[in-house]
């Protein structure tokens, strides 16, 4: 598993995965599970080996490009009454403050980019 990157990160170990499978999907509880080094920052993904899968980067992307365009156009057409606003640059976790500093840096004309840990 990758190293923990947030404080208060929940336990996503194999023991937790096994317990969840036992409780929710006991027919799969004995299947091999594999931790996937995904890009999730507040979640973890484990593959339950019942079939094969491939990484997105190894797939032909032509059909996916049209699918994504259609999906994005569909999402954009949905009316939202009330609810929360989603602003550009709004990110969860420690990336949020970094992006704010980055925005200020890009607004200035010079200087070095902000560092992630300051």
């Amino acid at each position: 598993m990758s190293e923990r990157i947030h404080d208060n990160e929940p336990d996503t170990s194999e023991a937790v995965v096994r317990a969840l499978l036992q409780a929710e999907l006991p027919e799969l509880a004995a299947s091999p599970v594999e931790y996937l080094a995904t890009s999730g920052t507040d979640n973890a993904m484990w593959r339950i080996h019942t079939d094969s899968g491939r990484d997105l980067d190894q797939l032909p992307l032509d059909a996916l490009a049209a699918d994504l365009g259609e999906a994005v156009a569909t999402i954009a057409r949905l009316e939202v009454d009330g609810g929360r606003a989603r602003r550009p640059g709004e990110r969860g976790g420690p990336l949020g403050p970094l992006l704010e500093r980055l925005d200020r840096w890009l607004g200035s004309r010079s200087g070095t980019p902000p560092h992630s840990s300051t």
Binding site: L64, A65, A76, R84, A85, D103, L106
Partner: protein
């Protein structure tokens, strides 16, 4: 594309090129922003694909109402220059919206590279690839 291990902090981003694209975005004439539902994080890890086709979009926890140009991110976060025209045609965004979307994703990618690459997190590679695609797309 360089692997994570080949990146070193002082050379993580091409500052001059990033500044050039941001300056270019400022030149774009303002137009009314189209608002609608925004997912806000359409990166590879949030897209489920089966047999090369999109089947699900996950991680809606940050969704809300906003500038729909934010969801043009897959143009650079997922696709390469070869497939981008098909995406562009399907979303039918205006020129200004396209530039706004590119700038949003540029800032996201720069921040992501600065944050995740030094941590050797998988997202560092995703963000570095996205940044590379944006910087070589114009």
């Amino acid at each position: 594309m360089a692997r994570l291990s080949e990146w070193n902090a002082p050379a993580l981003i091409d500052v001059a090129e990033v500044r050039r694209l941001v300056a270019e975005a400022r030149e774009v004439v303002d137009e009314p922003v189209v608002e609608g539902l925004v997912h806000g994080d359409l990166i590879p890890g949030n897209l489920l694909v089966d047999q090369g086709r999109l089947t699900s979009i996950i991680d809606w926890g940050g969704a809300g109402r906003g500038d729909v140009a934010q969801d043009l991110a897959p143009a650079w976060a997922v696709l390469t220059a070869a497939e981008r025209p098909a995406f562009c045609e399907a979303v039918a965004a205006s020129g200004a919206a396209w530039i706004r979307g590119r700038t949003f994703e540029l800032e996201h990618a720069v921040g992501g590279v600065l944050y995740y690459v030094p941590k050797n997190h998988a997202l560092g590679d995703v963000m570095a690839r996205t940044l590379h695609r944006i910087l070589t797309s114009s």
